[in-house]
């Protein structure tokens, strides 16, 4: 006390520079380990930031974001999927400076990811990674039914799938109310038949011949070729079913393959070979209107309520530096790819040819939810209500005829887009 009085100034305490980041439980657990065991000590050393990494189920993140924003208290950075940044844009700190820096230094941010993270001309969140969705399939089982290469069209896939299901090796696909594999399957499927939610002016146009054809086709395809339990699957069911040899193919990030690779002693084919040696990846087949894809975007939003937004921004800037990001990127083994084009040239891609289709997959993403309009709040609401997925699920389960289900979807989208 005497010292303080003598110095005529208040004591200096160490500033608490903690950054709390909320992310999903990564399907590649080694990546979360990198954040906790590599990033945390290194960023503490480099910037004096104490990194607090919290992970939850991806389906639970919107609830945490909503409660944090409304209460004005919570993580400094929240990882948001897809176009959620549009939903929470009013609660975001502008991160345009980092996006510009990273984009310039790393070959440019993919266009789709820019659309998902830019609202009103500014970056409300920073794209972190993209998880491409490709079909993982059992090469030997496809060979056995005469498919030496992966089917190029839905019609061909249907024919192959029929034979596979007859051999008790169905295709496995979720049509449940779940965030990842269901919409990343149903949206591109809709587009490949010429269907779309709205036109460029936001008028609902889903009730079209293309959509009805797609739903009709899917209902038959489902019955003939799929494990019909997929109606109740979440994003993890297909992983378990594929790894246990119950299904022959599934649209997935590379988490199935990565798990088979990491558990080579555990996951075997019926002949005793490591399962990963019988896995290949292929893009979704084409319909009458071409082939499409949707790859899940993972973005980081610095929250406006944060008392350490400056620290959070500094952490993101540090994390995106090539030498730091690379540590996280390489353990993903291609499950998640970088948000910028320069990561396509990384040496990691030369290690495993099975993962090669993931390298440039984000380039194939030309459409987003809410196509041909913007991936805005309305598109996010439709996505969250699983309207497109449910449209297919209703027809596949026999709950509605294809035409009825399309009309239902048009009605629901109409309420969102025009309030009628």
């Amino acid at each position: 006390m005497a010292g303080i009085l003598a110095a005529h100034r208040a004591p200096v305490f160490a500033q608490a520079n903690t950054v709390h980041i909320l992310r999903w439980n990564d399907f590649v657990p080694a990546a979360d380990k990198v954040l906790r065991e590599v990033f945390a000590p290194e960023v503490q050393k480099a910037l004096g930031i104490k990194l607090n990494v919290e992970t939850v189920n991806a389906n639970d993140i919107p609830a945490r974001a909503t409660s944090s924003i409304q209460s004005g208290n919570g993580p400094d950075i929240i990882m948001l999927l897809n176009n959620y940044p549009h939903l929470y844009s009013s609660a975001a700190v502008d991160v345009s400076a980092i996006a510009d820096e990273v984009g310039k230094a790393q070959g440019g941010i993919y266009d789709a990811n820019a659309q998902l993270n830019r609202v009103g001309g500014k970056w409300v969140s920073m794209p972190w990674s993209v998880v491409p969705a490709l079909i993982v399939y059992r090469k030997s089982w496809f060979d056995e039914v005469g498919a030496k290469t992966f089917p190029k069209t839905w019609q061909e896939y249907h024919e192959v799938g029929k034979k596979l299901k007859a051999a008790k090796r169905p295709i496995g696909q979720t049509l449940g109310n779940t965030f990842g594999d269901a919409p990343t399957f149903t949206y591109p499927f809709l587009w490949s038949y010429g269907g779309q939610e709205v036109d460029a002016k936001g008028k609902v146009v889903i009730d079209s011949k293309g959509t009805v054809d797609s739903v009709r086709f899917m209902a038959q395809f489902w019955k003939d070729a799929h494990d019909e339990g997929g109606l109740a699957w979440d994003d993890s069911n297909n992983n378990r079913a594929f790894l246990s040899g119950d299904i022959s193919a599934s649209l997935n990030g590379a988490s199935i393959y990565v798990a088979a690779l990491n558990g080579a002693d555990k996951f075997k084919t019926e002949k005793g070979a490591p399962l990963h040696t019988d896995c290949l990846h292929a893009p979704l087949p084409a319909g009458p209107s071409g082939a499409h894809a949707y790859h899940t975007a993972f973005n980081h939003m610095v929250m406006k309520y944060s008392k350490n937004a400056k620290g959070a921004i500094e952490f993101l800037r540090w994390a995106h530096r090539k030498e730091n990001y690379e540590k996280w990127f390489t353990v993903q083994k291609g499950f998640a790819v970088g948000p910028t084009k320069s990561w396509e040239d990384h040496a990691m891609w030369k290690q495993d040819p099975v993962m090669a289709p993931f390298r440039t997959a984000p380039q194939a993403q030309k459409r987003l939810m809410g196509y041909a309009g913007q991936p805005n709040q309305k598109a996010a609401e439709a996505w969250n209500k699983y309207i497109v997925t449910v449209m297919y699920a209703q027809a596949c389960s026999g709950k509605m005829k294809p035409e009825e289900s399309v009309k239902w979807a048009a009605g629901e989208l109409g309420k969102i887009y025009t309030g009628t």
């Binding site: 389906n59 919107p62 609830a63 974001a65 909503t66 409660s67 924003i69 409304q70 939903l87 929470y88 844009s89 009013s90 609660a91 049509l175 449940g176 109310n177 779940t178 494990d227 019909e228 339990g229 997929g230 109606l231 109740a232 699957w233 979440d234 069911n237 378990r240 079913a241 246990s244 119950d246 709040q377 996010a380 609401e381 969250n384 209500k385 699983y386 449910v390 699920a393 209703q394 389960s397 709950k399 239902w408 009605g411 629901e412 309420k415 309030g419």
Partner: protein, 309 residues
């Protein structure tokens, strides 16, 4: 001297307080106050806020503006909500019926004397004690479309040739939810009804038996009327809990397949919290209020009439 004055002052204050508390009105207020404060803070305030939210276009991060009953009319016109409302009524009705019937049967069994009676009674509460999220996860595994242990047993026992669609068919999934809710809630019925049964004098049963009443008549004319007040209270509690259930469906089905198992609470959560449309979510959840209010009002009125009879 000053110490004596202080002691006298303290005594006066104590006696004044004692006199004050001797007044029934003051004592009642003092005793009720903590409860009222808790009720206002944790029940009334959120309820009033929900009411206000439901009348505005509030969405996450945006205070919105007053929109009158627009959120309610949108909900009424929403086919997913219509389905969720029907599901909630179906789920509550059947789960309550099963819980009451099985709970009564169990209570009657547990009211008998047998070995290890106390252990059995205590273990009965297990489903009620285990956190719902945990038990719902366990049931989800048992109903898993691919790895269901029940499907496995039935298939290998030669009783089925195709997997049963426990959670992949809308109708099946709804009944599965009813089964899990019944499993979880039945012990509450059983233990409460058991407590009620133990207040019934055995003399009444003996007298009825002497008059020639068989087991069914003794139950119907002696046990049931005396147990009715307890039963009604249990049913009211159960209806409230089941009608507003969230955890079980959220974990078991997530509202799927194709929205077939959404309840009002899970759908309101999806809209309000998942999509950030807080005003619409609040309006959806408030649809529970008049239904539950009517149930409670009718049953409490019935109870009052019985008490006066």
């Amino acid at each position: 001297m000053s110490e004596a004055i202080a002691v006298t002052g303290r005594r006066e204050r104590v006696s004044r307080l004692t006199r004050l508390l001797e007044s029934e009105k003051v004592l009642a207020v003092a005793l009720l106050l903590p409860g009222v404060v808790i009720l206002i803070t944790f029940i009334a305030y959120p309820f009033v806020m929900a009411l206000w939210f439901s009348l505005t276009s509030i969405r996450v991060g945006d205070a919105g503006q007053y929109v009158g009953l627009a959120n309610f009319t949108k909900a009424i016109d929403d086919t997913i909500f219509q389905q969720a409302f029907k599901n909630t009524v179906f789920y509550t009705f059947w789960a309550t019926i099963f819980k009451l019937a099985l709970g009564m049967w169990l209570a009657l069994l547990l009211n008998r004397h047998f070995r290890f009676k106390r252990i059995v009674r205590a273990s009965m509460l297990l489903p009620f004690i285990i956190p719902t999220v945990l038990s719902a996860f366990a049931w989800r595994w048992m109903f898993d479309p691919t790895f269901s242990v029940m499907n496995w047993a039935l298939y290998h026992g030669g009783m089925i040739t195709d997997r049963l669609p426990f959670l992949s068919s809308g109708d099946w999934a709804m009944w599965c939810a009813v089964v899990v809710n019944t499993w979880r809630g039945m012990p509450f019925f059983a233990i409460t009804l058991l407590a009620g049964l133990q207040t019934i004098s055995p003399d009444l049963h003996e007298a009825a038996a002497l008059d020639g009443a068989n087991a069914w008549n003794r139950f119907w004319h002696v046990t049931w009327p005396l147990l009715l007040p307890v039963t009604l209270v249990v049913v009211v509690f159960s209806v409230i809990q089941t009608f507003s259930d969230f955890q079980l469906i959220y974990v078991l089905t997530g509202g799927g397949p194709a929205n077939s198992t959404h309840l009002i609470a899970t759908y309101a959560y999806q809209i309000g919290v998942g999509s950030g449309l807080l005003g619409e979510g609040a309006a959806l959840s408030l649809f529970m209020f008049p239904v539950l209010f009517a149930v409670v009002w009718v049953q409490l009125r019935y109870l009052k009439r019985m008490e006066n009879a």
